[in-house]
């Protein structure tokens, strides 16, 4: 395992991300809401660049107590979306939200002084 440079802390604002090619690994590193997350950039579906799509909150159906449908809303859970076909992943876990048994490989992110590294 080695540490691969991602960015200076000051250069990676909240909401930013980087795609890091670290030897044979291709890793998406997200900085969101004060935390860093790093996942394999290969979608579990067809191998698309899973970490390169948009960030969007989970969509939920609003079902009233009488079980009637009352429209849709965004939940707090944040997803990133594979731009090839739309597979969505929970940014906090790397789980594929269509089937949470499927997960992207997760990598550790470490901070050394002013620098961010990913461990791969």
């Amino acid at each position: 395992m080695a540490e691969w440079f991602v960015a200076k802390v000051a250069d990676m604002a909240d909401g930013d991300r980087r795609i890091v090619t670290a030897g044979p690994h291709e890793i998406g590193v997200f900085h969101k809401d004060g935390a860093f997350y790093a996942y394999s950039n290969y979608c579990v579906h067809a191998g698309g660049p899973a970490c390169e799509g948009i960030l969007i909150n989970k969509v939920v159906d609003i079902i009233a107590p009488d079980r009637t449908y009352q429209g849709q809303a965004f939940a707090d859970e944040l997803h990133f979306v594979c731009p090839w076909h739309g597979y969505e992943y929970d940014i906090k876990t790397g789980e594929c939200v269509g089937n949470r048994r499927l997960k992207l490989r997760k990598y550790d992110v470490v901070r050394r002084g002013d620098d961010i590294f990913v461990v791969a």
Binding site: W4, F5, V6, A7, D16, R17, R18, I19, V20, T21, A22, G23, P24, Y42, A46, G47, G48, P49, E52, G53, I54, I56, V81, P83, W84, H85, G86, E88
Partner: protein, 402 residues
């Protein structure tokens, strides 16, 4: 082999490179040695609406040509051409749908040729059969003469501006089936043009394919050795499909619905007996529908032979001699289910791989190449060999995987 490297890339959403977008596809192509064998994509797309000004200039009728030109840029109720409600790009989640307009091209070669060859090489495709996109709904246009006029213009434009200039691109041209005479003339006019590998019927339409008015067109196709294909799409205005409230529903059902109807009519009315040498292909319905319909028709045929007296064999036996494009190929968790489907349709000789690129649910060749129950020769047949025979293509590999 990909060399280990270290690189940090920032993402931008105001530029687009198809090579970058499909870099992982090219990695797959190199890892699986696609350079060693032919891959033919029997169903891919361009966006002909981006060339409407050019295409409209090919419309013969001056009144319709003027109306088309005047309608440029108008949408909705002021548009001349019909469309469908739909959010195929998942409300912006499939980013290439919007970003592809940022792709840079230069030189005199038509942009559609340049951009198409880029994704073909990235995916590992030697030849691609190119189809339009908005025109997939043209069979629903309320004015028959508009369908016929646009079909004639598009076909002529495609032959002159695209197919004549790029041997790796072929097409099955649009058949304006709502105007039977125009459909016949289309085969007559374009059947021998360079790059024309057959003719395509857009499936959402409401004239039955067994109507006597089409027999001379089928006969001409059979005589010329040109296949006919039925390209699926949906119609959210269809009374049954109109009950669905999400795109996933209308897409999953709609892309089977019309092809199931056309197939049932085609077989039950004995068209395979009337046109035994006419090659028939079914595009973009996936595979499960055929497996389903074979069993349904066979079951009822044994009780109701009087309903289809032209048939000398079970419906499934005719269906097993037709061709099926793969995409969007359903991949169940249990591969034995898919293996059974392949067996039912004689996949080794009748299945032809398709990408549907750049549409939202495109497939890569790996969807076939990685199947555990296929041998190497079967994979190569499905990925290119079967289509090369069907279309009469040179089996020499011509792609350049980046």
């Amino acid at each position: 082999m990909d060399m280990p490297r270290s690189e940090v890339r920032n993402l931008r959403f105001d530029e687009f490179s198809v090579e970058k977008h499909l870099e992982h596809a090219a990695q797959q192509a190199r890892a699986r040695n696609y350079q060693d064998f032919l891959i033919v994509d029997v169903d891919s797309h361009h966006y002909e609406n981006e060339s409407h000004r050019d295409i409209f200039s090919y419309i013969d009728n001056p009144v319709i040509r003027r109306a088309a030109m005047d309608s440029m840029g108008r949408t909705g109720r002021s548009a001349m051409l019909n469309s469908q409600v739909g959010y195929q790009d998942l409300d912006g989640r499939i980013t290439r749908a919007q970003l592809r307009r940022f792709e840079k091209t230069s030189g005199d070669t038509h942009r559609d040729i340049v951009t198409t060859k880029r994704w073909m090489d990235a995916i590992g495709v030697d030849y691609a059969c190119l189809f339009p996109t908005p025109m997939l709904f043209l069979g629903l246009h309320p004015q028959v003469e508009i369908e016929a006029a646009l079909a004639q213009a598009y076909n002529r434009w495609l032959c002159e501006r695209i197919l004549a200039h790029e041997p790796r691109l072929v097409s099955m041209l649009y058949l304006p089936l709502n105007d039977p005479e125009a459909a016949y003339r289309t085969v007559q006019e374009f059947g021998d043009k360079r790059g024309v590998t057959g003719f395509m019927v857009t499936s959402p339409r409401y004239k039955p394919v067994h109507d006597n008015v089409y027999m001379k067109t089928y006969a001409l196709l059979e005589e010329m050795g040109k296949p006919i294909a039925f390209h699926a799409a949906y119609n959210w205005d269809d009374r049954a499909l109109g009950m669905t409230n999400r795109f996933i529903s209308v897409h999953a059902l709609g892309f089977m619905w019309f092809n199931m109807i056309h197939m049932a009519n085609w077989v039950v009315n004995g068209l395979p007996e009337r046109f035994p040498k006419l090659k028939v292909m079914w595009i973009e319905s996936g595979l499960t529908w055929a497996y389903c319909l074979m069993q349904r028709l066979d079951h009822e045929f044994m009780m109701r032979t009087s309903d289809c007296p032209s048939l000398k064999r079970k419906p499934s036996e005719y269906m097993r001699e037709m061709y099926y494009s793969t995409q969007p190929m359903e991949v169940p968790d249990d591969p034995s289910v898919l293996a059974a489907t392949f067996k039912m349709i004689n996949a080794e000789t009748q299945l032809v791989w398709s990408s549907d690129y750049p549409h939202w649910d495109f497939d890569l060749p790996s969807v076939i190449y990685d199947l555990p129950f296929l041998g190497e020769q079967a994979k190569r047949n499905i990925l290119g060999g079967n289509a090369a025979k069907l279309f009469g293509l040179d089996p020499k590999v011509v792609k350049k995987i980046p």
